[in-house]
Symmetry: C2
Subunit: 211 residues, 2 copies
Amino acid sequence: MPSQGSREPAGSAADRPAPRRRRADAERSRSAIVDAAVRLLGERPEASVEAIAAAAGVTRQTVYAHYPSRSEVLTAVFDRVTAETDAALDAARLDELPAATGLLRLLDVSWEIADRYPGLRHADPPPADRKEEAEQHRPITERLERIARRGQESGEFARDAEPRWLAAATVALGHAAGAEVAAGRMTPAAAADALRTGVLRLYGAEADAEV
Amino acid sequence: MPSQGSREPAGSAADRPAPRRRRADAERSRSAIVDAAVRLLGERPEASVEAIAAAAGVTRQTVYAHYPSRSEVLTAVFDRVTAETDAALDAARLDELPAATGLLRLLDVSWEIADRYPGLRHADPPPADRKEEAEQHRPITERLERIARRGQESGEFARDAEPRWLAAATVALGHAAGAEVAAGRMTPAAAADALRTGVLRLYGAEADAEV
DNA sequence: GCAAAGTCTTACACCTTGTCAAAGTTGGGT
DNA sequence: ACCCAACTTTGACAAGGTGTAAGACTTTGC
């Protein structure tokens, strides 16, 4: 799935199987659709294709012209948000910080973005897409894994947990914290704090690090 | 929502607003429906009311005669499974164990039951039921909170985390572990193990306890 | 045995996802 | 400036899901 990679400076020209140059028109529609979908699904995960199309100023059929099914639209939305998060994390230069500090920083950045799209937490990926859904998070979990590994090597973190698991667990804790806030059982500040100390404990970091 | 409480020895007779004694017939249908729903939704969360009715040997309209909407059926299913878990936890006598040990025991028991209904993890509670969904888990999270509090008082666990948060986080980690197994990224044994040590760390338990 | 409670059949309204075809419109290369 | 291909729109349709409703039928419990 080669998605909206419009910024990359053309790595190798022959690696994309079917470049299928799109008309400017079409490209405009595509991004209008994804824009609208991000906005709508970010609030209401059950928004219909009709609603998305309307919000994009386009017909439902046009949506289907670009995305074969509703779930493909969802995928595009995830891609978009993931890319956004990824860029923000790039800008945060996590690799230049101590592992624990980088971890906390990653939490902050991700938290903020996830907060912008509350609906996406509960977007119902159709039955089959379960595995792909996990794949969607990979750019972020990969970073987490890297930080975990680095911290384990440096002795900041306990060495007996698989980085993969730590990454998954971290995401889960982030969701849980978000849910607590959404349910009104915790203030955003308290949740963010609990998440930070919770994650550090999970990784077996000896003392608290500062953000 | 006074649900299938058929075993309680009639606390106070007047607290149920409308006892509405049901015919044996109806009661049979109700449980057939919930049975079927647990079975179907436990595998395929998107199972239709039609399918549930068929599996229960009943018409779709009969389902609607007992449950006003699909989501009410889902609620009944959750109630049923929660009750099952609750009973199993009762039998485990968690309160008579050290907090850490009790915690691990609770994980084991819950894990096993959650494993029986893989579909329920992803059952899509319609938008409004979000809060109720959390309420659904309350019998279990309450236990977790109790154990957390007890462990904090006894000095087994760190004292700086709110029990409520610990409970939510524990459930989240459990789900994450389940998801890793479902996605084939971890073996059940490895996941269970990671979950155990992860949760102990989260609670700030100094050393590992045994199951 | 009889009335009420429960169920079944049939039918409808409405919404959503997908698909299709034909008529318009826009874009880009020549 | 033109023209063709790409794109969008309009309109229509099938399939399937959730709910609702009314009337006939069957079972239960007294």
